[in-house]
């Protein structure tokens, strides 16, 4: 990551705010802990995994990503595709969601078979038109394959970037979330000049 980007600024702001409200004695005692916390936060930020697949095949990934892109579409602003949701899902299946690999493998064929059943001229979900894809997903709502992809898509859009999704923090920008490690009042519109 670019060392002149937000990281250093964030770190500095964090340190300044942390120290701002405290006396000198506190600073000398707690400097190491604060520094450790800030370094850890910065380290975490730099650890965004590369965009490559480890668990899913290219074909599986194409089908899952097509579904993710209907769940959070990229219409005029970044969606699941730009957030790299598919890399989040692949990474999840290699780590905290490893026990769901089997569920994906078993239920993924349903995405194709449902597509063929509803639109006989289309062989793969990823090759269907957006409207057709929406119709297939609607038909699959509540089924394991939809619910798995759904939960993981939302997670991949909004998670911390070091989980492989939310690339460039596009999900956070979309919802107006700022991950700075420290803030100072006023926090929002309604608490400006009204501190009681």
């Amino acid at each position: 990551m670019n060392p002149t980007s937000g990281n250093d600024l964030d770190r500095r702001r964090f340190l300044l705010t942390a120290l701002g409200g405290a006396g000198g004695a506190w600073a000398s005692v707690h400097w190491p802990a604060i520094l450790e916390a800030a370094q850890h936060a910065a380290h975490m930020r730099e650890a965004v995994p590369p965009a490559k697949l480890e668990v899913l095949s290219a074909e599986q990934a194409a089908e899952i990503e097509a579904a993710a892109c209907r769940i959070i579409p990229s219409d005029g602003s970044p969606g699941a595709r730009e957030a790299g949701v598919i890399y989040f899902i692949d990474r999840a299946l290699a780590t905290f969601a490893a026990d769901q690999r089997e569920a994906y493998a078993q239920s993924l064929p349903l995405l194709q078979s449902k597509t063929r059943e509803m639109f006989p001229s289309v062989s793969k979900f990823s090759q269907a038109s957006p409207d057709q894809q929406d119709a297939v997903l609607k038909a699959l709502e509540g089924q394991p394959i939809f619910e798995l992809i759904y939960a993981h898509t939302v997670m991949g859009f909004l998670c911390v970037p070091e989980r492989g999704g939310n690339r460039g923090k596009v999900g956070w920008k979309q919802i107006g979330f700022d991950d700075s490690p420290a803030f100072a009042p006023p926090f929002g519109y309604y608490d400006r000049g009204d501190r009681t």
Partner: protein, 563 residues
Amino acid sequence: MVAQNRPRSSARQAMNPQVTYKPSEEVDFVIVGSGAAGGVLAKELSTAGFKVVVLEQGPWIPPGEFSHDEIRVFLERQLTNDSRQQPQTFRKTPQDKAEMHNGVIYGRLVGGGSVHFTANYWRFHEIDFVERSRRGEIPGTGFADWPVTYAEMEPYYTKVEWEVGVSGLAASSPFDPPRSQPYPVPPMPVKSSGVIFERAARKLGWHPFPAPLAILSQSYRGRAGCVHCGRCEGFGCEVGAKSSSLASVIPVAQQTGRCEIRTASYAYRVETNAQGRATGVAYFDARRQAQFQKARAVILSANGAETPRLLLLSSSPYFPQGLANSSGLVGKHLMINGYHEVYATFDEPLNEYKSVAVSRVLHDFYELDPKLGFYGGGGLDARFGMTPLRFGLGALPTDVPRWGKAYKDWLESYSRTMIVACHAASLPVEANSISLDSELKDAWGLPAMRMTYRDHPDDLKTVSYLSDRALELMNAAKARKVWTWPVHDQSFAVHLLGTCRMGNDPKTSIVDAHHRTHDVPNLFLCDGSSFVTSGRGQPTMTIQALAFRAAEEITATARRGGV
């Protein structure tokens, strides 16, 4: 990924140098649990000169490793009990078959639940301790007075505020009980949600006040003030501004040179001798080897679910139905507090993801009018515990599609959304309980925890009543959109209360007014399990006040040779 590359922390030892005892050495006290109560007891007893060993199931996590990663914290359970190792079952009534369901959630690390709690620290009111006398019997419940009054508790509430560090504004609520001292540090700055809540509440003639929080608004006793990172609810505090046991009392205990915090130590049995006295605690160490810590006295502060479970696991020929259970009431009268949320979206950004979860509270409905026809009471607060992921997966209004463009558009309301949370009393019902599952075992081969719980009908009516007031409030605030969900039976518990209740009568209670078990003279229980009634939520302040009070009595008794 960083989290994966780090050493597994389950066996991590204390960060600070500390005394270590051999398990075979008889210490004065062994305390099970290092959370809100265990931390206070460890500090008080070691400071008083006693040798103390604290057995903690979980690891010692340095503040620098507290993560803002929701997956690490909520899905990988960095700070809480892990159902993959310690699965549980659940049933609504004793007549139902218990199914796999991990309803009990508690902190499992040094500091316990005080590490991840939201840190709301209002005191219980005078009525909470004498409500049975004032209100009369409630059929089908174990509604009872406490063997201690608010007036007796007051010095210990003050002690909590000054010893662990609580921010707030004294005399800011007309409903507050009397207090002897102001708060040691001023309240946290008001958030946008607090301003909106306060204006609307005043319009309705209600009495909002700054939230008392166990979070430092400025540096205090060598600890840092809050940096408003916004990760209080569910997360650990990297700067130590949240007044967890980990940040406040445990370092003091260690500095005495008499207290060892022993991590990765999973207590499974309190041993007793032929005289019916406790001799120490058997536990599994990090390598799952059985160990036994000898002690002159045993204190269980393992939380309102694990404390009764440990007593039930400690049955013997002398105590066939579980230790300290001659009343048959160990594990019973579980109370978990009612909870409900009303959401509202406004025109301008509130940015509620910044700073502490709660900045304004009101107690106008602390005691509901008996003429309503049901028992109850509660508090409302303006809050937002929604990290992005929790919001995206758990906050969706029923009239918004859960995927597609409309969903994505709704997500953009994140920074303009707030919550009014309702916190309510739970009635003590004997059938609601923690017990041992007869079939399921945990990863150590111990009988798994079984939760039996169904809200009393009055509890649900109370929550509905409070939800209506929250809706009224948000409508008075002229929110752009207001939404909530129907009130329903609860099956998840984070407030674990009442399962080893205090009382003067050994037939109807487990511990006496000073936390000594009626049955075993050198066995004490002090945590949420000691509660007789549930208050209106926010139990940790009272758990800690009880712990300071218990420590004082236990110290005096031990010095007289009475333990």
